[in-house]
């Protein structure tokens, strides 16, 4: 168990360190256009949700959302993919055609999100349905990261309902981070807790403290195991706080201090716990952070050396079938 907890902590450290480097790069003007979107405050849940998953083309389907830098890394996304995408480099997974947190590798089960929240739910359902039709679903699962804001779109509703009707091995991990951009939950939902919706859809329901990494680990492991075992769709609602702004263009100053005081920062919080329990020592903490920052600096330097796309070399065609006009067989 301590190995799992250490892996969770390391994942949280790597995610936090990457977010901090991305934020610094943005402030330095190192990213042309756009913003950067961080997962600060959500690392415990994000990593805990990704850890029970299997990576690879025949592995699980994973649909991370805006604030899952840490979870993406935990499931095997390379540091390079983040930098190459933010920097719009040609050799990145999105080749400069899409950016920031829209990155993914669908052939590896890593779904690239679009900005329209909730749109990722039904495609994961469809992927699982396809595998069932093809007879290769096995005990693979799909996991979608959602937030309190995302829970209010029609796309989310339709996707979750389809998952329940089809009794799919889908895990919906809801980070209730208190705020949709700048609007607080009192203006975005009126049920007692978002977990109340689980029963309405026909999902098994779990809640946990999203700032408590151990609680996230236990809850996510249980939900993923249940989905793998054929118990149908599972929903976790974890309560936590988005520490940063919506993106780094936004200082989040509208988040009142009283609200901030209610939620510990999960990364130092967990680190302190592991230190006090003797699972970690100060030297290891320093070394792991140093190692994370070194790897991140190396990935950034490599990405910066990569070529940007050249407009004149693009084919500017949105179709994969190239010979429709003119009459050759497509």
């Amino acid at each position: 168990m301590s190995a799992t907890r250490l892996a969770l902590w390391r994942g949280m450290v790597l995610g936090r360190a990457l977010d901090e480097r991305l934020a610094a790069l943005y402030r330095q003007g190192g990213i042309r256009g756009g913003s950067v979107f961080l997962g600060k405050g959500q690392e415990a849940l994000s990593v805990a949700a990704a850890m029970p998953l299997r990576a690879g083309p025949e592995g699980d389907l994973y649909a991370p959302l805006i604030r899952d830098t840490a979870g993406r890394l935990a499931l095997g996304e390379s540091l390079s993919d983040a930098f190459l995408t933010y920097l719009g480099r040609r050799s990145g997974p999105m080749r400069g055609r899409d950016g920031n947190i829209h990155r993914g590798r669908p052939n590896m089960g890593m779904m690239p999100m679009i900005s329209h929240l909730g749109s990722g739910v039904a495609p994961v359902c469809g992927g699982l349905m396809a595998r069932r039709i093809q007879g290769r679903l096995g005990d693979t699962v799909g996991l979608v990261n959602l937030g309190d804001g995302t829970m209010n779109t029609g796309a989310t509703h339709e996707g979750l309902n389809i998952a329940a009707v089809e009794r799919l091995p889908l895990i919906a991990v809801v980070a209730d981070n208190q705020v949709s951009y700048s609007t607080f939950s009192d203006r975005t939902y009126a049920c007692r807790s978002l977990i109340d919706r689980a029963a309405g859809y026909g999902f098994a329901a779990y809640t946990c403290d999203g700032t408590d990494a151990d609680a996230c680990l236990t809850t996510c492991a249980q939900a993923v195991a249940a989905a793998r075992a054929g118990a149908g769709p599972q929903m976790i609602v974890a309560t936590l706080l988005r520490i940063s702004g919506h993106g780094e263009h936004d200082d989040g100053s509208y988040i009142p201090q009283a609200l901030r005081d209610r939620f510990p920062d999960p990364v130092p919080h967990y680190e302190q716990r592991l230190l006090s329990e003797g699972v970690l020592d100060a030297a290891t903490v320093a070394a792991v952070w140093e190692d994370a920052r070194t790897s991140i600096a190396a990935a950034l330097a490599t990405a910066q050396a990569e070529a940007e796309p050249v407009p004149g070399e693009e084919d500017w065609c949105a179709f994969s079938v190239r010979n429709l006009r003119g009459g050759d067989t497509p």
Binding site: I114, G126, A130, I133, V321, P330
Partner: protein
């Protein structure tokens, strides 16, 4: 030859043959399984033959389209049946932001077909008769087709299911049971992306798609018989990509162009065809191109209003006469 089959029967045959040919094909939509077989019976009997691959959905058009995206990524070839094309507007996001952008963004193809029962039938009113092609064509990455014949209802659906890119298949509801023809499913077919010359002629080019092709053919017959005017009737078949080459070749012979559609005028397929004719074929034109579209209002319910709402053979013939006399 065998007995004539209807346009909807051709669609049903194409679906059955596609399910038979490829175990990765499945159909997902409202009321399509069980003994019911769909609002227009396009899937009648298919659920019995393919019980795991003809699946009823909730009333969740956005969700259905999203399912298609994810299933296609896993190697399936989903066919989504919308009960009416009108309801594609609530699936707009998944179709244009997910399915249409996927290949450009990721290099992964989305071989999904969205079947859209489109176009007018009397009494259908504003929300059961729409033509969605203009707003679908506007988004790069979606192939948009509109078969006008029984052979194309079959062949273009098979080709759409086999296509690597997402296809919006705009099938015309009025043709479902009103159009019958012999069907040879093994006959060689014109590929997707190619327009068809349905009637050759040298005096005026008439361009349309879907049900309106038949109005153009009726107008052409009338003009030939009563005025000795020979219209060349082009059925676009595929609206995106658009076979402008066939239109321009025809224009080089006729020098006159009338485009007729059942859709609204603003920013529509007719406007696109005329934009092509004027920008690429300007010197060939002997008269201003004419655009005949539906009236620029929501689709009326009452039958006389509905019939007056859209062009018909008589209005097409009048437009051709005016063009020829210009």
């Amino acid at each position: 030859m065998s007995a004539p089959v209807s346009y909807i029967e051709a669609i049903r045959l194409a679906l059955g043959d596609a399910l038979e040919a490829d175990p990765n094909v499945f159909i997902y939509g409202q009321d399509i399984a069980g003994v019911f077989g769909g609002a227009f019976k396009a899937t009648k009997g298919l659920a019995e033959r393919f019980p795991t691959r003809v699946l009823n959905s909730p009333i969740s058009e956005d969700g259905m389209a999203g399912v298609a995206v994810g299933a296609a990524l896993q190697g399936c070839r989903p066919v989504i049946e919308f009960q009416f094309a009108d309801f594609a507007s609530v699936a707009f996001n998944q179709m244009v932001n997910h399915a249409a952008t996927y290949f450009w963004r990721t290099g992964c193809t989305i071989p999904a077909v969205f079947r859209l029962p489109a176009g007018g039938t009397p009494g259908g009113g504003p929300f059961h008769c729409q033509m969605p092609e203009a707003w679908l064509c506007h988004h790069p990455g979606l192939i948009v087709v509109a078969p006008a014949t029984v052979a194309d209802a079959y062949g273009m659906l098979r080709d759409s299911i086999d296509c690597a890119d997402p296809v919006a298949f705009c099938e015309h509801k009025f043709l479902y049971n009103h159009l019958k023809d012999e069907l040879d499913s093994a006959a060689p077919r014109l590929p997707l992306g190619r327009a068809a010359v349905r009637r050759p002629g040298s005096d005026c080019t008439l361009v349309s798609y879907g049900w309106m092709v038949h109005q153009c053919l009726e107008a052409a017959a009338l003009l030939e018989a009563e005025h000795g005017i020979a219209c060349e009737v082009i059925d676009l078949r595929c609206l995106r990509p658009l076979d402008t080459q066939t239109v321009l070749e025809s224009l080089s012979r006729t020098h006159r162009l009338v485009v007729a559609t059942e859709a609204w005028p603003y920013g529509g397929v007719a406007a696109e065809v005329i934009a092509c004719a004027t920008t690429e074929g300007f010197t060939m034109l002997d008269a201003p191109p004419v655009r005949l579209c539906a009236a620029d209002v929501p689709i009326p319910y009452q039958v006389d209003l509905f019939n007056a709402f859209k062009p018909d053979a008589a209005r097409i013939a009048a437009a051709v006469l005016a063009t020829v006399e210009f």
